[in-house]
Symmetry: C2
Subunit: 208 residues, 2 copies
């Protein structure tokens, strides 16, 4: 199912000959994500991915049984590309933490994730496994960051303890997704800060 399974040695494997080069797997998966983000799942073809990765189509089919498995693996392997829960910003204020978590790299990465999700939208309702992969690899990590930052602000008494942490932690991502998917505009730094200053902070009783 996953690329990890493919690395497992089989019972009666002959030991002679060349071994498969798994160092190229990440390149192929990255190429798959690129094509997915640009064209969407249904219009994406294996040939596109192979061409992008400068690999033969046969090479891909040697490693993944189908287009669906390739995509699921690609999504699963994009987990935590930019998010480091163990090393969150700690500036002393909620606004400082939120703004510090918007590095230019994480903006690009977030944008990419949104486009990948858009490409998976039609497929996601059919395959529950894919929905789970998207949930744990794309959605949940980002929400966890915001949830932690909000909880810290509560703990230090900066914001009221009875505020709606769950909805608040999804606010910025929801607005970014809407802007990207529906309005077809980029969720750039300026926009993200306008959401923080215009919606999130006022909602917890802070004036930026």
């Amino acid at each position: 199912m996953t690329s990890i399974d493919l690395t497992a040695p089989e019972a009666a494997t002959p030991k002679l000959g060349r071994k498969r080069d798994h160092t190229r797997d990440p390149e192929i998966l990255a190429a798959a994500l690129d094509v997915l983000a640009e064209t969407g799942y249904d219009r994406m073809t294996i040939d596109m991915v192979a061409a992008r990765a400068k690999a033969g189509k046969a090479t891909l089919y040697r490693r993944w049984a189908s287009k669906a498995e390739l995509v699921i693996d690609a999504v699963a392997c994009m987990k935590n590309a930019d998010i480091d829960m163990a090393n969150l910003p700690d500036t002393g204020t909620l606004r400082g933490d939120l703004v510090a978590s918007i590095k230019s790299h994480s903006i690009e990465d977030g944008d990419r994730k949104i486009h990948v999700m858009a490409g998976l939208m039609s497929m996601i309702s059919c395959d529950p496994g894919l929905a789970d992969a998207v949930q744990s690899a794309i959605v949940e990590p980002r929400a966890a960051v915001n949830r932690t930052l909000l909880q810290r602000a509560i703990d230090r008494g900066e914001i009221p303890a009875d505020c709606d942490v769950e909805n608040l932690s999804l606010l910025v991502t929801s607005m970014a997704m809407y802007r990207t998917m529906v309005q077809r505009k980029t969720a750039n730094r300026e926009f993200l800060i306008s959401v923080i200053d215009g919606l999130l902070l006022p909602a917890v009783g802070l004036r930026p």
Copy 2:
């Protein structure tokens, strides 16, 4: 292009014989939207729509030149299915107006619109005309309602004049879209009110 164009009389049309029955067009378009919302654009087939509408495939191709035109027409014709700008609620408070605008019918309609958008996600990045149709038929009408209700609240001095009306007017829809598309949960009345009371009203300085 549109069903309206198809009703236009042609120059040298013979006057004899049976005329095309356009009273069934809305049924066919509604069937197209149903299939679109359920299966997505790429997996949707003309046969599905024909079967749903209990019509022949040839009948559909007599009226729309292609699958794309059928879908664009269907989206355009769902304009304002539930929204009546001339008859907005006016309860005297922002919360009253917002809650009053969430009738059970408009919840279902909003849910349907979100599923239609999800089905169009992959296609929407290819066809700019489709993006415009979605924008004016699905997205903008709902935002306009919220924008008006917020502006009224400003005019009567209920909320500060410098609040972020543009982002605020997209807040509920964004959260509903996120919940439906990503979390695969229904954006029911309880959820919508939790967004209003937990995010929107606090963000404009009101305590529900």
